[in-house]
């Protein structure tokens, strides 16, 4: 059955082939595993972009296919990051603390170790005790479970409330934005239990792999991100194929009509919303160990809107469009803001791209919405049509 699914969707195979080639190319050129043309930090950037692509295809499914413009998917992404970050921070601090305490004449008791870890982690917010939400932080398995469960449950509850009361369109967008804002504001508090605006840091150090050089760790995360993107792509392509895809797109186009066909529209929306939230959480869990730090500012509503911008520029309603848009805009953005772009001297004024990039992005986004609603993905559609 799987075979026929892939055979029916040649674009999925094309995508997997391109992604595979890209991964292979990066591997051959990277510092750790190949020619050394690509620096470790760039491997990290590429790995992060792959994670962003994963959350972008989730966004595309929920918005481009199901018509729900969610401004909350980056919040789910952040939650995934926090969930895995808690374990990383706990385990690493535990290693350090145990080492420090080992220098004492008398071995430390479990309480002493625990207190020392708590002081180490929560000292910045003036606390020395573990908040309740850190109950599972000692266990990688449980925290990974939370990566899936927390975004999933949050999306399920929020979606159930919102869809049940038939909130649609821009109202739903604003409501999701409000949810995101509420979460970000909550995390900004020092007593949120997640270190307030300090966030979680040092996540690039993977406990148990201290001996492995960062270049190799980055490579491993790059591979993992590529694999996750591939699996996510296949998963979504599978969900969107056949009758399920038919119903999901029908809901986007005329929700009331689908209802009169006997489909319980709310369940479908909830399914899509929750599934994409879970994938967003997984993407975040892969992203933040590469970024090294997560703080509440990452979750702020603006991040979710950027996500929508990427998908829109790439061309929504096409999974590969979301990937292309995200890769294109986020790489371009880091090129501009990183000072890579040469300044433009107009004689009376010098345009510094670090300052003007957002102005450019904002206006080009308006232009895309007005003139190229199909985004970059439209070019591929044209090519496909010409080829036929």
């Amino acid at each position: 059955m799987r075979k026929s699914f892939l055979a029916e969707n040649p674009s999925v195979l094309w995508f997997l082939a391109c992604l595979g080639l890209f991964t292979l190319g990066v591997t051959l050129l990277a510092e750790a595993t190949g020619a050394g043309v690509i620096s470790t930090s760039f491997v990290k950037t590429l790995g992060k972009v792959l994670c962003l692509c994963l959350v972008a295809i989730a966004m595309d499914v929920v918005w481009g296919y199901c018509g729900i413009l969610s401004l909350g998917h980056f919040a789910f992404f952040g939650i995934g990051g926090y969930a895995v970050g808690m374990w990383l921070m706990y385990a690493r601090t535990e290693t350090i603390v145990t080492q420090n305490l080992a220098e004492r004449t008398i071995p430390a008791t479990a309480t002493e170790i625990n207190d020392a870890i708590a002081t180490q982690i929560f000292g910045v917010v003036g606390s020395s005790e573990f908040p309740l939400i850190w109950a599972f932080s000692h266990s990688l398995f449980l925290q990974l479970l939370l990566v899936v469960l927390v975004p999933g449950l949050l999306a399920l509850i929020f979606g159930w409330l919102a869809f049940r009361s038939r909130v649609t369109g821009v109202y739903l967008s604003i409501l999701t934005q409000a949810m995101t804002l509420a979460l970000a504001l909550y995390l900004f508090q020092n007593d949120s239990g997640l270190r307030g605006n300090n966030g979680l840091s040092g996540l690039q150090n993977i406990p148990g792999f201290e001996a492995v050089p960062q270049s190799m760790i980055s490579m491993a995360f790059f591979w993992a991100s590529a694999l996750a993107l591939a699996l996510g792509y296949v998963l979504f392509a599978r969900v969107l194929s056949g009758k399920m895809g038919s119903v999901i797109r029908a809901i986007r186009d005329d929700e009331a009509r689908v209802r009169f066909l006997g489909y319980h529209v709310e369940s479908y929306k909830l399914f899509v919303f929750t599934l994409t939230a879970i994938i967003a959480g997984i993407a975040g869990a892969l992203y933040y160990p590469q970024a090294g730090i997560i703080n509440p500012a990452e979750i702020a509503p603006i991040a979710s809107i950027y996500l929508a911008v990427w998908v829109a520029i790439g061309g929504r309603g096409r999974l590969y469009g979301a990937v292309i848009g995200t890769a294109f805009v986020s790489l371009l953005s880091s090129w501009f803001t990183g000072g890579g772009a040469p300044n433009v001297n107009l004689g009376f004024y010098t345009i510094q791209w670090t300052e003007w990039w957002l102005v450019l992005l904002g206006f080009s986004f308006v232009a895309v919405t007005l003139f190229f609603p199909g985004g970059i993905g439209m070019i591929f559609d044209r090519l496909k049509k010409d080829a036929l």
């Binding site: 413009l69 004492r104 004449t105 008398i106 071995p107 430390a108 008791t109 479990a110 309480t111 002493e112 929020f158 409330l161 919102a162 049940r164 009361s165 038939r166 909130v167 369109g169 821009v170 109202y171 967008s173 604003i174 409501l175 934005q177 409000a178 949810m179 804002l181 509420a182 979460l183 504001l185 909550y186 900004f188 508090q189 007593d191 509503p301 603006i302 809107i305 929508a308 911008v309 829109a312 300052e355 003007w356 990039w357 957002l358 102005v359 992005l361 904002g362 206006f363 080009s364 986004f365 308006v366 919405t369 007005l370 609603p373």
Partner: protein
């Protein structure tokens, strides 16, 4: 007390002419004390000086305090001294004549220490209370208020009768009442004074009551003694540890050893990898550590450990009470009663104050959201750049202030200018972007968001990232103070008035003018409207401009009390949308209701958890999400076909 009172009265009755040499001789009687004053000895001298009623006494006290008094070494006489050419110029303390200038070595400067200077100052206050200069009198009263002592009661009472200034007299009476409540001799008089304070909301009065009610924790071996405020039960009113620490302090029991101290003691006694025959490796366990310590204690190497059982026994032996420092039970119970009444009163007033706060917050939300109520509510166009229009308005105000230095004038210029600037921006945006996207609300949302990003960054590029001030004119400074609890700043009142004005103006425009009629016609049925000769394009453009222009004025108002930054718009955008959605779309009254509800709710949460405005916002948003469950169309919902679902 009565003695001091009579002395002061005598002092006031004395003729102002004084005999020569009187002060000097008085001082000479106490020569040693005056020359080398100490806190313990200075009292009687001060009493004598006050009792003498000499008009020269205050000046002497002041100079003494300021270290301006010198004693001549040869005869021990006192003079006022001032540094002059060739030494110290000496002035006679009685006549005020300059006597001579002597070498600095011939005299000795008298330097009273801090404690003595305080005593002198309080003696001085008694003179100052009746000083002819009102500034000195009121500063003396303030000095008493800052540092209330029983000794001040009598002089204060004495100075009330002849106080010419009515306000100061009332203040003196109030202060005397406080002093009487705290330090009076007569229990009944104190109770009466305390009872009169039960409707006093001032911070000072409340402090007096709580000072009377000051208490300490005391442990008793037998029955509790003294003026007991409350008996404490260990485990309920006081924790075990705190109770035991109290015993350690008051009954000299052996303190418990902390886990850290226990570890250090063990570390100090490691011998050959073992502590008291227990291998070190096993000591990663608290009970093993205690066992090792006890063995060490048995061997006499460390003091015996206070075990939990011992603590329990000790706690059972002793009783714990909170005891008033004030011995008089009548006074404390009257004070407790008065405090209860005051607290109730304060709570009522705080509620009132909070309501004012809530109204003021609601006004701000209303101002921020009312522009949206038009563009989003009436036209159904979602404008994510609305917050940036608010920001543009605020920056317009800032720029105007750079050119017009008079704050009132600049405000008068800024408000219409801000309207024009944002009106133009709104019209431009409608023409260039939004009109291509009617009926595609999600695209409108995204496109206007793109504009919002660009505008924010533009503002950053132009004005920099730091906050810019938008100074309010002087007549908006300060606050309307109703009592010690309730007060509201004029600027908030102004914003409230502005919000009301906007409400009236908008209702007028929408209900009574041609434009309003056409707007309603276009939003309800554009095709019909255009067939009746209304140009829907023009109407939409004007409406959008109007909504944006109002955002600009709101920006000036918000800028007056909040910081003007490029990001200020995004602080308001979500709340503004919430206000419109909660209130009910398409209805200015709905926006008012939404703003009122959100403002009240947020202030309510802040009241429950005052330290945390972030939490208040979080809960507010959660509340809104839930609220929309029950009233998806907002507080004031349009029904039926007009709702257009």
């Amino acid at each position: 007390m009565i003695r001091i009172l009579s002395m002061v009265l005598a002092l006031l009755c004395l003729p102002l002419t004084a005999h020569a040499q009187e002060l000097q001789s008085l001082l000479q009687e106490n020569q040693k004390v005056v020359a080398k004053p100490s806190r313990k000895t200075v009292g009687p001298v001060l009493d004598a000086l006050v009792a003498s009623g000499l008009p020269t006494a205050p000046q002497f006290l002041e100079s003494w305090q300021n270290k301006d008094v010198y004693s001549r070494k040869e005869d021990g006489l006192f003079f006022y001294g001032a540094k002059a050419d060739g030494g110290i110029a000496l002035t006679d303390v009685d006549t005020g004549d300059v006597v001579s200038t002597v070498d600095a070595k011939a005299v000795k400067q008298i330097k009273p220490n801090g404690g003595v200077r305080k005593e002198i100052a309080s003696a001085l206050v008694q003179f100052q209370l009746s000083d002819p200069d009102i500034a000195r009198r009121s500063s003396a009263v303030n000095a008493i208020a800052r540092n209330m002592t029983g000794a001040m009661l009598a002089p204060l009472l004495g100075s009330i009768e002849n106080e010419p200034d009515a306000a100061l007299k009332a203040r003196k009476e109030q202060l005397a009442n406080y002093l009487n409540a705290r330090f009076g001799d007569d229990s009944a008089a104190r109770v009466a004074a305390i009872e009169s304070m039960s409707d006093d909301l001032s911070v000072e009065g409340r402090a007096v009551l709580s000072q009377i009610l000051e208490s300490e924790l005391v442990s008793f071996e037998g029955d509790a003694e003294g003026n007991i405020a409350e008996k404490l039960t260990v485990g309920e009113d006081i924790t075990r540890n705190a109770a035991y620490e109290l015993l350690v302090e008051q009954q000299s029991l052996t303190p418990q050893i902390s886990e850290n101290e226990l570890r250090l003691a063990l570390e100090a006694n490691v011998e050959g990898g073992k502590v008291a025959d227990i291998p070190v490796a096993q000591l990663a366990d608290l009970s093993k550590r205690e066992q090792a310590y006890d063995s060490l204690a048995a061997a006499g190497a460390v003091p015996t450990r206070v075990t939990d059982t011992m603590v329990t026994e000790a706690l059972e032996t002793y009783q714990f009470s909170r005891v008033y420092l004030e011995d008089d039970a009548d006074v404390t119970s009257a004070a407790a009663e008065a405090q209860r009444e005051v607290q109730t009163n304060v709570a009522v007033n705080q509620f009132f104050d909070l309501s004012l706060d809530a109204i003021s917050l609601a006004s701000i939300y209303f101002l921020a959201a009312v522009g949206l109520a038009i563009t989003f509510g009436v036209m159904g166009v979602i404008n994510m750049a609305h917050g940036e229009f608010i920001m543009m308005g605020a920056y317009t105000g800032y720029v105007v202030q750079q050119f017009v230095p008079n704050y009132t004038a600049s405000l008068i210029v800024a408000i219409p200018l801000a309207f024009m600037v944002t009106f133009a921006a709104g019209v431009a945006m409608e023409r260039l972007v939004i009109r291509w996207l009617y009926n595609r609300p999600l695209e409108t949302l995204l496109a206007t968001f793109g504009i919002s990003i660009a505008l924010q960054q533009l503002a950053k590029n132009i004005f920099g990232t730091q906050a810019r001030p938008l100074t309010s004119p002087g007549w908006l400074d300060g606050a309307w103070i109703i009592n010690d609890v309730v007060q509201i700043s004029y600027i908030r009142i102004a914003i409230f008035v502005l919000a009301l004005l906007f409400l009236g103006l908008l209702l007028f425009i929408l209900k009574k003018t041609r434009l309003g009629l056409e707007v309603r016609a276009v939003t309800q049925n554009p095709r019909m409207a255009s067939s009746m000769g209304i140009n829907p394009d023009k109407i939409k453009m004007m409406t959008f401009g109007l909504g944006s222009g109002i955002a600009g004025i709101a920006g000036v108002a918000i800028g007056l009390f909040a910081k003007v930054t490029s990001e200020m718009g995004s602080d308001y955008i979500v709340q503004s949308f919430m206000t419109v959605v909660v209130g009910g779309v398409g209805n200015v009254w709905g926006t008012l209701a939404g703003a009122a509800m959100i403002g009240t709710f947020q202030k309510g949460v802040e009241w429950l958890n005052p330290s945390n405005t972030l939490a208040a916002q979080t809960y507010m948003i959660l509340f809104i999400i839930l609220f929309i469950q029950f009233r998806p169309k907002g507080i004031i919902a349009l029904k039926g076909r007009a709702a257009g679902d």
